[in-house]
Amino acid sequence: MNYLYCAFIELLAKYHFPEGLALIIFPLLPFCILAAGLLIMVLFLVLAERKILGFVTQRKGPNRVGYWGLMQTVADAFKLLCKENITPSAADKFLFTLAPLIAFIPVMLVWGILPYNAEFDLMSTPANLIFYLFLAFMPVLGIFLGGWASNSKYSIIGSVRAIAQAISYELPIAFSLLGIVVLSSSLNLTQITLAQSSVLGPARWFIIPAFIGFIVVFVSVVAELNRCPFDLPEAESELVAGYSTEYSGMRFALFYITEYSMMFANAAFIVVLFLGGYLSPFGNYLSNIFFGDSMTANILVYFEQTFWFLLKTFIILFLFILIRATYPRLQSDKLLKLSWTILLPLSIVNLFVCMLIKAIGGAL
């Protein structure tokens, strides 16, 4: 960060700003970049999903607004902004308004926890893995509250399904993460990332020792995101729109953004835990290979790390979208059965495998 900090101070000095201002602005800048950058990313994630679904079903997808349909989600968001916020007369008005915010705010925080590159990890506390789990669970509370406050039958069924699903799938995730914690001896996401580094590239990524854990976390994350084939809380063919049936306008947009931001955050979370986070898949960073140990290389490395991080995340997101395009929806009772009878035992097995590998590795 020193390079960037110096560059920033120089920039301010050039326009005769006092140095004290840089001290205040500089720590806030990354959050602004993050919030703006990732919200734009979400806009294009929605578009990418529609385009890929279109590709899978041999359609063109949205292609009218802007070049190649690029502005479609912007137009949609603008439309939602202009729409009336309807509050049903029987709804609990305070909670009905509060629910989208409860779902949305933790997502912004979740983004801050993820290590995007070696310097850009803003909340690198010793146990931010736990903090991540806590925040990642929060949107479900918002969903539950929203469904309950709507006072509509479809919404209530949807929110009850959401909470049942979240409770059952939180446990396999937690148990699988214990395996990772054992392997990396850390609860810090940056430390977990660095524990996977090796000159051989993917050789020490945790997906290899904790492959069962990867599968369990992948399935559970899809379930926690309420995505197909686990999209029961908003099953449109059964519950109309589930928890968001009564929502309209910007409140609905907040739920929508939450859903896709969590999708991005959870994909990134999987990348950090199992796929080496921002580490290069070639062992060495390309900028170091091409530019040696120069100043240019040292700055370029940050961008390259972010590039690898995002690339891996997009691969996971692509898988999420392909799954949505392929599978029918599970039944609600079988969904819970899958978690308690298959995923939870598997995640415990994974924990033991990880402990065994760690013990053998420590003995060698």
């Binding site: 679904l53 899978v56 079903t57 041999q58 359609r59 039958k153 479809y154 209530i156 069924i157 009850v160 399904r161 197909c228 084939p229 999209d231 029961l232 099953a235 449109e236 063919s237 059964e238 519950l239 109309v240 949505r324 395009a325 392929t326 599978y327 029918p328 929806r329 599970l330 039944q331 609600s332 009772d333 079988k334």
Partner: protein, 361 residues
């Protein structure tokens, strides 16, 4: 959650039209179900009493808009029985050909929407893509995609054209059917949702007057095509399954598409070799219908459709009665749904292939 009444429909994404189900639910479990129909009632039967036979003919396609040829055939052949005229051989083979193509189109649409009900988005587009081929062909020969008005009293409106376009269409569909099977038949989620859900035994099906694929999925051979003179020239197997669950109904419909394809190939062979009259040249404006009653049955994609006409000798029918397969399938719903969960409602209801226009008429 305590017990509550859930009003499913009439406007609901997966009731395919305007069926209303009043469900008593305890959490997700269904304790009671009461179907309410009539939201799509168009008075098809009463309407006939004020129209001449020729005026009524275009409207019968709308009884079930996904299988227009079948309704058309039921009405037209009932009138032919009243008129006591014979249909030329070529005309009846053209009718069979078009009806079987229509059956494939109807089953493809069912497959797509059924998977949409189950939460899979893609198969919907795939089946519609193939159905489009058939509809385009129908448009070429009848001028309409769904409301054909092509069968006339005593034959068909004009001779069939572009016969050589049909085999490639059917071939594509049969090939794509393999793709659907790859995507669905061994899909564990699809199996877990359809196997052993909504089991209908043979006795129950017969007691509820269920016909068509729903009955044949419950270990029955009853297919009206085998009794009909129309299909005497054709060889085909009756698609049949034993289990009576949603999966059996899915298999039966897929098999029926394959059997229909066989009939289509045979019909094309006959049509290409033998030529002849395509209608009796009847002047439909002044039909000379005697007083009496006539009815005709046809095996539609959704079961047995019967059109019964009572004539008093005037130029308008005295009474027309339609019997359609979906109407009986709706009665089955309380029986099949009670005890299942809310997610099963769509799996079971969708598998019965209920067509609301056909229920309400």
């Amino acid at each position: 959650m305590s017990k509550m009444k859930l009003n499913l429909g009439p406007q609901h994404p997966s009731t395919h039209g305007v069926l209303r189900l009043i469900l008593d639910v305890d959490g997700e479990k269904i304790l009671g179900c009461e179907p309410v129909i009539g939201y799509l009632h168009r008075g098809m039967e009463k309407m006939a009493e004020g129209m001449t036979y020729l005026q009524y003919l275009p409207t019968v396609d709308r009884v079930d808009y996904l299988s227009g040829f079948f309704n058309s055939f039921a009405f037209v052949s009932a009138v032919e029985k009243l008129l006591k005229i014979e249909v030329p051989e070529r005309a009846s083979i053209i009718r069979v050909l078009l009806m079987e193509l229509n059956r494939i189109a109807s089953h493809l649409l069912w497959l797509g929407t059924y998977l949409l009900d189950l939460g899979a988005v893609s198969p919907f587009f795939y089946t519609f893509r193939e159905r489009e081929l058939i509809l385009n062909y129908f448009e070429k020969i009848t001028g309409q995609r769904m409301m054909y008005n092509y069968f006339v009293f005593g034959g068909v409106r004009h001779d069939i054209e572009y016969l050589d376009e049909i085999p490639p269409i059917v071939k594509t569909i049969i090939e794509k059917l393999e793709d659907y099977e790859k995507l669905l038949t061994d899909n564990p989620i699809f199996l877990s949702r359809t196997k052993n859900t909504g089991v209908l035994t043979r006795g129950e099906a017969l007691a509820y007057s269920i016909t068509g694929p729903n009955l044949r999925a419950s270990n029955s051979h009853l297919d009206f095509r085998t009794q009909s003179d129309l299909y005497k020239k054709f060889e085909f197997k009756i698609a049949k399954a034993d289990e009576g669950d949603c999966y059996a109904r899915y298999k039966v419909r897929l098999d029926e598409i394959r059997e229909s394809a066989k009939i289509i190939y045979q019909a094309i062979d006959i049509l290409q070799l033998r030529f002849g009259e395509i209608n009796t040249g009847l002047k439909p404006l002044n039909l000379n219908i005697e007083a009496g009653e006539a009815f005709s049955d046809v095996e539609t994609p959704r079961g047995l459709t019967t059109c019964c006409i009572k004539s008093d000798g005037s130029d308008k029918p005295y009474r027309v009665k339609w019997r359609t397969g979906s109407f009986y399938a709706v009665q089955l719903l309380p029986k099949l749904l009670i005890g299942n969960t809310l997610s099963d409602v769509m799996a079971i209801y969708g598998s019965l292939d209920v067509m609301l226009p056909e229920v309400d008429r």
